[in-house]
């Protein structure tokens, strides 16, 4: 008898059938991967199970008995725990305080911290989830915070654990550790649902795979019966190119030169501690690293959003160290920002208005302070068609588009400007396989047409598949440089986590960690 069974679950949002008679079963001690593109309905389904959404039809059975789950509290009482993609922790509180939140053991109205701490330590030891119970959550790494979330679910008595895109924020090493923990959990009799759109994870850890597309279950298989290509076909409904085909790079003259750049962060600390790099015309330079190691400050300094403390930035021998964002655009730099909602788009502007942002003040879109609506609209129609932005009209507000289409809109604007240098930060964050393929092809097309491309990404796979040279950033410095052929995920991951620094001896470091500038 399955521990969790869903029968014909249907959930309708205005205009979308997010779940269409979805049936699903989870056996005791099993890891089931729920695979699908963004918007396929995976999270909706699990939010129904966790009581965050009420279904419009169908039923949920726990241990064979029909149940009604109206709130997360109901779910927790039934032994269902969920770890969300965005952690729900109180940062200033300690690990123990966070874990017991809502279920505080108390004596005469006073929280019994001794008991709580002991129980947390016991759970932590039993499942191999090592974490300091007295550490402040704000001081923990993302991987550690995730452990706290899992411990919290276990503390609340979860027998069924739902993990929503758990690896999106982790380094390769942390992913391996997480999967080791997951295996321990199922060995102890728990059951796990893993929501993901990453195929390698599915192949690596799942016992069974349920594939969703457009709100329906389109297939079920096991890692033994298929491979990544087969899974991708089920997920997208067509064949997908994983590694974008690319010709060898033909790097020409240097376009971007950064020398000894020191940049402060918001706390006035050195976020960049003397970074030097060169990007040549016709090559993609990828910057790998765990979030928060200076990548954001580097990009912001180049595009003029942040004032460098020292060092220099030049573009084709023109000094742009202290150039304003406007001057930087004029000089030929395009920037796909890491957060399209915060920096990339004005969501309340329509598509045409968004497509001229950055070029709105001068010809051909304006002269004498007056905007040429006709030219703007014509250009917008062309761009929307060229970049396959799916929209009924250019008058639609940017906020109404899907994430993939919004990113295409940003690309259309930034590439349409015909820049010398393209800086793309997290260009595929949150996009599904089809949109990722599109973005990758466009970036390589820029390279092949002789543009210089600086790519910043947390996704190692993306860095490796697009870059001609790879720089790994750690604590505000370039830790190592690889050329395209010689890097693999393990070696890059080693340097991402400061491996070279902490290992102490060069012998443990993977080979060819020596910088090989421009060795192509």
């Amino acid at each position: 008898m399955p521990v969790l069974e869903l029968r014909e679950i249907t959930k309708v949002f205005p205009g979308v059938r997010a779940n269409d008679r979805v049936s699903f079963a989870l056996e005791r001690g099993e890891i089931v991967a729920l695979l699908g593109e963004n918007g396929a309905g995976k999270s909706t389904l699990m939010n129904v199970v966790y009581g965050l959404l009420g279904p419009d039809g169908g039923e949920v059975l726990v241990d064979g008995k029909p149940v009604r789950i109206r709130t997360p509290r109901d779910a927790i009482d039934l032994g269902i725990g969920m770890v969300h993609q965005h952690f729900m922790l109180v940062e200033p509180l300690t690990v123990t305080e966070n874990i017991i939140l809502g279920h505080e053991p108390s004596r005469f109205g006073v929280i019994d911290f001794a008991t709580a701490r002991a129980k947390v330590s016991e759970l932590s030891a039993r499942y191999g989830l090592k974490v300091d119970p007295d550490a402040r959550v704000a001081d923990l790494s993302v991987g550690m915070q995730q452990r706290v979330e899992i411990l919290k679910a276990l503390y609340q008595g979860a027998r069924i654990l739902i993990l929503d895109e758990p690896t999106a924020v982790l380094t390769p090493q942390e992913v391996r550790e997480l999967f080791a923990v997951v295996r321990t959990l199922v060995a102890e009799g728990l059951s796990v649902v893993l929501i993901t759109h990453k195929l390698d994870e599915v192949m690596g850890v799942a016992d069974r795979v349920v594939v969703m597309r457009d709100g329906r279950v389109v297939g079920e298989t096991t890692p033994g019966q298929t491979d990544q290509v087969g899974l991708a076909r089920m997920m997208v409904g067509r064949d997908v190119v994983f590694r974008v085909e690319k010709a060898p790079a033909k790097p020409a003259e240097a376009v971007l030169e950064v020398r000894d750049l020191v940049v402060l962060d918001e706390r006035k600390l050195d976020a960049l501690k003397g970074v030097s790099l060169t990007v040549r015309a016709g090559e993609v330079v990828g910057i790998a690293g765990v979030d928060g190691n200076g990548q954001r400050e580097l990009v912001e300094a180049i595009v003029g959003l942040r004032r460098p403390k020292s060092g220099s930035i030049s573009l084709r021998d023109k000094d742009i160290t202290h150039a304003s964002p406007h001057a930087t655009i004029e000089a030929g730099v395009s920037h796909v920002p890491e957060d399209r909602h915060r920096r990339g788009l004005v969501l309340e502007f329509d598509l045409a208005e968004n497509l001229v942002l950055g070029d709105q003040a001068g010809p051909p879109y304006a002269s004498g302070g007056v905007m040429h609506t006709k030219v703007i609209d014509e250009t917008a129609r062309t761009r929307v068609a060229d970049y396959d932005v799916r929209t009924p009209s250019i008058r639609v507000l940017a906020g109404a588009l899907s994430g993939g289409n919004q990113q295409k809109l940003v690309l259309a604007r930034e590439l349409g400007r015909n820049p010398d240098l393209l800086i793309a930060a997290q260009p595929t964050r949150g996009l599904d396989v089809g949109a990722i393929e599109f973005v990758h092809k466009r970036i390589l097309a820029e390279r092949d047409s002789g543009k210089a491309v600086l790519l910043v990404s947390m996704e190692l796979e993306e860095i490796m598949s697009l870059s001609d040279r790879i720089l790994v950033m750690y604590e505000g410095k370039v830790a190592v440089e690889f050329s395209a052929g010689e890097a693999d995920a393990e070696r890059i991951g080693f340097f991402m986590t400061g491996g070279a620094k902490h290992s102490g001896s060069a012998a443990t470091a993977p080979k060819s960690s020596v910088a090989e500038a421009g060795a192509l």
């Binding site: 004005v346 502007f349 950055g358 009924p392």
Partner: protein
């Protein structure tokens, strides 16, 4: 998809949008009137008679077509005129996400500039003097917004604090000027009467055949309406308006697109101040023909302008209608007191209720948006990250 179908879909959507946008302000007005009626009834008066009198005071009666109506409507329009300017001023600021709560101070600076220039330029012909005075008043208003704008742009000092403080400085500065350099020799707390050639003529001077009686409505109304369309055009069709809206909606994206948040802030707040200054000048040149000491008189058009902008949802054209509504309430209130014996302060209550309901709508919208956002996040679209 065919072009015509697309166009018709868009047109339909724009209508829906306009309806939805206008719906809540209209509903707010109706609700405010309804509650006003309850209050009137509770105090033992007849609400129907009261509102009847109010309407008569604001627009005249059907029987007395012509003379009385023109006077009443003229009165409404005259009272709406400074509110259009002030409403535009506050709305323009809001479009850049700036709350110019001190518009009243800029308005007073505009008034005193108009009074001073009106006396100084007495010898010039109207066609030269009046535009010069208006420009001077606009500059005076803009200058009063300039320092708060610079403070905001350079050190991030919040404009609500600084414009408010400047509003008080403006109040007492103008009071001193009226008591000292520009004092009327005979009567205190006012400037001397301006020479007639710098007055903004009343509308009956232009349309003697149609308006056979003198009305209070003056040329300032025509200027205000024209300015509303100009402001709309600036916001929609100029690079300045684009920058103002971009900074207002999403300063980070605007900055990323090379727009300077600081410079845009300075422009937006100064234009807002200039519009407020014109409100003052229009009152001085069109109605008072001198400036009274606001410390004692206290008309507070700048503050009512905030209410007008809120009701109009910062749309320049809608400002005209919101201002006329407030003008009508104000013009009709004395007739209401006279005929139905309902204190004219009830109108202040109704104005406050309108703002309350419009404000409540923002809260309701915010809640709806939040719900939609939550639903979207849970739709399985992990798009947010």
């Amino acid at each position: 998809m065919s072009e015509t179908h697309e166009a018709s879909v868009i047109r339909e959507r724009m209508w829906m949008k306009a309806l939805r946008t206008a719906g809540v302000p209209l509903l707010s007005v109706v609700l405010a009137m309804a509650i006003g009626s309850i209050i009137i009834a509770a105090s033992g008066k007849d609400p129907v008679a009261a509102f009847g009198a109010l309407l008569t005071g604001a627009f005249g009666t059907p029987e007395k077509w012509a003379i009385g109506n023109f006077k009443a409507i003229g009165d409404t329009i005259s009272r709406a005129t400074p509110l259009i300017f002030a409403g535009l001023a506050v709305a323009f600021g809001f479009r850049a996400n700036l709350f110019n709560i001190g518009a009243n101070g800029q308005l007073l600076l505009g008034s005193i500039a108009a009074a001073g220039l009106g006396l100084a330029l007495a010898g010039l012909p109207s066609l030269i003097a009046v535009p010069l005075i208006l420009i001077g008043a606009a500059l005076a208003g803009a200058s009063w917004a300039f320092i708060p704008a610079i403070l905001k742009a350079k050190v991030g000092a919040h404009e609500v604090i600084t414009t408010m403080m400047f509003s008080w400085i403006g109040l007492y500065l103008t009071s001193w000027i009226i008591a000292g350099p520009l004092a009327d020799k005979t009567v205190s707390s006012q400037t001397p009467m301006l020479p007639e050639q710098v007055w903004l003529p009343t509308l009956d001077k232009f349309l003697p055949a149609l308006l056979r009686v003198p009305v209070r409505a003056h040329l300032g109304f025509v200027i205000a309406v024209a300015l509303a369309f100009l402001v709309w055009w600036i916001l929609k069709r100029t690079t300045l308006g684009y920058s103002v809206r971009a900074v207002g909606y999403n300063p980070l994206a605007a900055q990323n697109g090379g727009i300077s948040i600081g410079i845009t802030t300075v422009y937006a707040l100064c234009i807002s101040g200039a519009l407020a200054g014109l409100a003052g000048a229009s009152e001085v040149l069109g109605v008072q023909h001198r400036m009274f000491d606001e410390v004692s008189a206290g008309s507070g058009f700048g503050f009512t302008g905030i209410a007008v902008a809120l009701l109009a949802k910062n749309h320049p054209i809608a400002v005209i209608f919101a201002a006329i509504l407030f003008g009508a309430l104000s013009a009709g209130s004395s007739m209401m007191q006279l005929v139905a014996n309902v204190p004219d302060k009830i109108v202040t209550i109704i104005q406050a209720l309108i703002i309350f309901f419009v404000g409540a709508e923002t809260i309701i919208n915010w809640l709806i948006k939040r719900r939609q956002k939550l639903a979207l996040e849970q739709k399985g679209a992990t798009d947010v990250e």
